[in-house]
Amino acid sequence: GESVGLHLPTLSVQEGDNSIINCAYSNSASDYFIWYKQESGKGPQFIIDIRSNMDKRQGQRVTVLLNKTVKHLSLQIAATQPGDSAVYFCADRGGKLIFGQGTELSVKP
């Protein structure tokens, strides 16, 4: 079946540094992915998405890279801030919406 998985359950970075969160997926037919941010006590919140006809997409301080050859995507956060502390999920947005396990990002001041 479909699955997505994140490489590291936790990531700790210094404020101002860049963060990279990785995700792998299994379904080669998957063509649309979404990154969500979940803060404590809240539901997941959309950050950025990418479709399979793209290799890279940029938002405000965030960039998502998609490598279809190795079925891997990453979320890069530039100049990480304390407010970025949260759990980050990649999701396979096909007919269902399948989540990985999440990476908890901690930002040290």
């Binding site: 649309y32 979404i34 809240k42 539901g43 919406l97 396990q101």
Partner: protein, 114 residues
């Protein structure tokens, strides 16, 4: 634009009791999802509706869980009887269509079974 509304926010019940959660999706959204999120894990899809029809309920424990979406708008998720392992956050999400669009989440209902 109003977001996805869920109630209650918190619920504590004893095992073997029943409980119901309510979700009001964003107006006009045809697709509605219920997820179970156990502490430290990613959300797990329980059931997906398209309007008032069930698209996928393959991971719904049907011996104790039920869900309905009357008139293709609001939805309720029920657990009867609850078990200790049902303790989790129950998230509702909605999207304009089944795929290729963003899904929006509510705040969730935190259920504790004691």
């Amino acid at each position: 634009e109003a977001g996805v509304a869920q109630s209650p926010r918190y619920k504590i019940i004893e095992k073997r009791q029943s409980v119901a959660f309510w979700c009001n999706p964003i107006s006009g959204h045809a697709t509605l999802y219920w997820y179970q999120q156990i502490l430290g894990q990613g959300p797990k899809l329980l059931i997906q509706f398209q309007n008032n029809g069930v698209v996928d309920d393959s991971q719904l424990p049907k011996d104790r869980f039920s869900a309905e979406r009357l008139k293709g708008v609001d939805s309720t998720l029920k657990i009867q009887p609850a078990k200790l392992e049902d303790s989790a956050v129950y998230l509702c999400a909605s999207s304009p269509s089944r795929q290729n669009t963003e899904a929006f989440f509510g705040q969730g209902t935190r259920l504790t079974v004691v």
